[in-house]
Amino acid sequence: VISKVLIANRGEIALRVARACRELGLRTVAVHSTADADSAVVSQADEAVCIGPPPGKHSYGNPAAIIEAARITGADAVHPGYGFLSEDPDFVQICEQNGLTFIGPRPEVMAVLSDKASARAIMREAGLPLLPGSLHTPSSVTEAHQLANEIGYPVIVKAAAGGGGRGMAVVRDSDDFPAAYRETRAAAQAVFGDGRVYVERYLEPARHVEVQLLCDEHGNGVHFGTRDCSVQRRQQKLIEEAPAPGISPGALAEMAESALRGALAAGFTGAGTAEFVVGEDESYYFMEVNNRIQVEHPVTEMVTGVDLVQEQLRIAGGEPLRWRQEDIELRGVAIECRINAEDPDREFAPTPGALDEFALPGGPFTRVESAAQPGHRIPPHYDPLLAKVVVWAPSREAARQRMARALEECDVAGPGVKTTIPFLERVLADPRFRHGRHSTALVDQVLATGPAEPGPQEGGNR
């Protein structure tokens, strides 16, 4: 049983977790870097501890600081949010060794599932379809190259320890393979401290579809349908929706059921996601498992009525799931837009700075998750997510229109601050998106058509 939860994260997800805890009557401990001393979660949590300097590595990503903060405040559980230490099996083990309940899967399960190569192997065992590729990481360039030639191009070289869209390269020609392989290895070693990579067929055009799962500690599991995350730029998602559009209900159900089967076979517990790529012919292939709550979880909450973060806390407290699969019903369509402090006209470069104006939308079926506040500075040290705007409507078209209305209500401005809002509006208006027939190429296709509003840029406007 959990009574006091340390939230080992920042920004909107820290606030999201704090709210779930408060609704469940759990006490909360916020931890923060010196850059976040006046953040919303610090004022809302029951207690707050400064754990380090701004760089994430020395604060939110520092296991020793988090364990010490838990010890001095008497917290008995740790919610890792997403990013930082959320998928670090060593951190899970350190929590356990210090008598803290980690809100997520067991460390040995996380170790297997967060490694893309071993996750592929275990999912294949469970009968999930995989793209042609290596089941294990090749031991030499020659072996990898030979494999790539057998698979056929294009192939993608991916870091086994990779995540968040980093540490991967698409190779379209056999001649380019050795260089790309070596570069990805070196990048993986530098970024993740693990140079292992694997090779698989690169599917295009493709859609990115994922399945939301909850599994308890008693061997029960339920899936909450699918989300489409195809609107992404260099693997960074911009718009997500539930359920995935333009794919037959039969294919979606099959995908969701197989994901659940695989997760249960791996011994997964907590909230997680299985990611798939889906071809034009509705063929689907398992990609990877996320062992944590995801940024885009609200769209699933909106169509199922289930508070996934509360359920994470219940599962970690040892409670059995409160549903069987047949109890889960999806209603309507939910869309999420990520409002990032990034300049779409300059390769989405982050634009940290002071927020003079910061007004977010409201109105019917419109939900906003944000930790930013007017007058605050966007710190340059962290990811540039300012707010998630989520809408629900009975139909996809109504949801799309509601989102367009919600984005219009946003007023975000400050010296040098740009946001993704104008670009999100262009995507929403694109016919391919409107008809739900887009692929992961959509962002590049929209960018290729040039900015919708040409002319001199005005500083500090959106």
Partner: protein
């Protein structure tokens, strides 16, 4: 694990060990690298800073630094400075508001990490520093215990201790002022 995969890891571990050796407060006694299958281990033993108390018969136990726990200041002092468990007290209020200094010559020595502050090398021993003491940049003013490792905190400036701001065995946040130094009345003597 193939040779090709193991090599960069061992290299990285070696670099990490070299960094540690530089950062540690005393002379290195022994360092062991181990790469076994998927696991890599780095074991370090070292002599603490010049002894400040009674000699101790038992050899200090090795400190195992797991690769996952790399960045925080894992450098611990000589185990002679480890306070006994009895020094543990229930946590007081977390995050007391530091009093802003209005005097220009007042310098705060801040906690370098979250943990428990100790003013003395061991229970019952004299505190490292008292108000009025003159300190050098490398003078130890206290210890912050984090993850069972004792991290000596040095003054980082020349000066005279004018105030002790954190109590013995008090939980401290990162950046919390521990003692205040006056740097002016010492500067002339430099």
């Amino acid at each position: 694990v193939s040779r090709e995969e193991a090599e960069p890891r061992v290299t990285e571990l070696g670099e990490h060990a070299a960094r540690l050796a530089n950062d540690l407060p005393g002379d290195l006694r022994r360092l062991r690298l181990k790469a076994d299958g998927e696991a890599t281990e780095l074991e370090v033993e070292w002599h603490g800073p010049p002894a400040q108390g009674a000699a101790h018969a038992a050899a200090p136990p090795p400190v195992v630094v797991q690769p996952t726990l790399t960045h925080p200041a894992v450098a611990a002092a000589d185990p002679a400075t480890v306070p006994a468990a009895e020094a543990q007290q229930p946590p007081a209020d977390v995050g007391p508001e530091p009093e802003p200094s209005t005097e220009d010559d007042r310098t705060m020595v801040e906690a370098p990490m979250v943990g428990t502050f100790y003013r003395a090398p061991e229970p019952g021993a004299d505190p490292f520093v008292e108000v009025g003491d003159e300190v050098e940049p490398d003078t130890v003013i206290g210890i912050v215990e984090a993850m069972k490792l004792m991290n000596p905190v040095t003054a980082e400036a020349r000066g005279r201790i004018v105030e002790i701001l954190a109590a013995n065995a008090e939980p401290v946040e990162y950046g919390q002022p521990l003692v205040a130094l006056s740097t002016s009345d010492i500067a002339a003597g430099a």
